[in-house]
Symmetry: C2
Subunit: 252 residues, 2 copies
């Protein structure tokens, strides 16, 4: 069943209105009509099967038929901080990372980022990123849409990291050492409801002084499997592993 | 250190020659010179640090300085059979799947595949796919290059599946059932050296009769986590999970 995230202000108890692009999608693209059912997600995580009561030019009115007791959110909140990569790799991380359950994304400017964030286009880009995660959330039936932060500096990222229960960074050098901090050791210790910050470098990885800064601020360097992953694959590996550990192995 | 896969015939005990595109890449792109070191991978999985002895127009001669005792191959051989997807999604699966350790890829024509394989362009496409997995193997320091098969029909895929120790298919309906076959239950039972065939449908998933055909032939339907993954994300989830189980948790 088609699924839409409806902003809080468009809910009135068991009545919902769908507006703008979603209304267009619902009536023109999906060709839904009065009496048809869709799933409406409340931004706070609830979802309900709703029936279309009325279709006007840019507003569709619905009422709740049945509240759903489903939850497909990762039991651990995983925030992906991604060193700004080249091309459209960030968009790949946003889309696939949403499918794999990330709760937020923080792009950040790292020493070896080849790309410089264009501040003039910032607002437009962030809007585009938010659209990607919203659509991915709808498509994969998430209960929540992940947050997308404005790009941060290393300093801002370190400041932001203080609210995380566990913070790790992928460090290529770790993957080459005989003795490394196993990612699974960290993941297995996580408790339901905790939040983990996973920091991934840009294409060239982290500079030594960045690694030192992370170490000084309580980040744990990890390897993500024995192969050297591309920057955009690393985040997906981390998320799939957390999902496998908690949603498939089911150890909580 | 830069890494190249050298075909068997270009090895002569401890002497190696690099030819063609790789020679061009080595001397022109990487600007390596006599006395410089690179890593040469034998197609059979061995690798050695080699020193450049001589550079001619299209041939570079090297000798082995040190054989490496490294192995970053997944202990389980995972073959990804991917229902032909739209656009360049197959290329994404090939590249990222190689990084995540897949040992082979089988594209196949499924009922709901929107794309039809253009047989006239087949050879050229397969060459392109092989180039993608070779480059990805070099980049992520694999010991082996995954195989890429010519696209198969469902019938051929079923025939091919007979050599697999374990065969599973991702079935969206499974993800919606309360009682489902847990992917981790299957993964945990795998033994080192076994091979698993993971079959992923195209965008629309599998038709019921395809699911029945799989069931009849000993395939196990699985869900890959609780969220509905896009076709190109499903293979990556499966591979990352196998890696996490055997290379991070380390249960063998």
């Amino acid at each position: 069943m088609q699924r839409y995230f409806i902003p809080e202000q468009d809910w009135n108890e068991d009545n919902v209105i769908v507006k703008g692009q979603d209304a267009h999608h619902l009536t023109r693209v999906m060709r839904k009509n009065i009496g048809d059912h869709i799933i409406c997600n409340h931004t706070k995580g609830k979802a309900a099967i709703c029936e279309i009561d009325k279709i006007e030019k840019e507003v569709v009115q619905l009422h709740v038929v049945e509240w759903l007791e489903e939850n497909v959110e990762l039991p651990i909140s995983v925030t992906i901080a991604q060193g700004l990569p080249k091309g459209d790799k960030l968009e790949l991380v946003l889309q696939k990372g949403t499918e794999l359950g990330a709760s937020a994304f923080i792009p950040f400017q790292s020493k070896r980022s080849v790309v410089n964030w264009d501040k003039r286009k910032s607002e437009k880009k962030i809007q585009r990123f938010k659209k990607i995660v919203k659509e991915a959330s709808e498509q994969c039936h998430r209960n929540q849409i992940p947050d997308v932060f404005h790009p941060m500096s290393m300093k801002q990222l370190i400041e932001e990291s203080k609210s995380a229960d566990v913070k790790i960074y992928a460090y290529e050098e770790e993957a080459r050492l005989e003795k490394f901090q196993s990612f699974s050791t960290i993941v297995k210790k996580l408790k339901k409801g905790q939040n983990m910050l996973v920091v991934i470098g840009p294409e060239g990885g982290f500079a030594r002084e960045e690694a030192e800064l992370f170490n000084k601020n309580g980040f744990i360097p990890v390897r993500l499997g024995p192969r050297i992953l591309r920057t955009e694959t690393a985040a997906l590996y981390a998320l799939a592993s957390v999902s496998y550990q908690f949603e498939e192995l089911g150890c909580l």
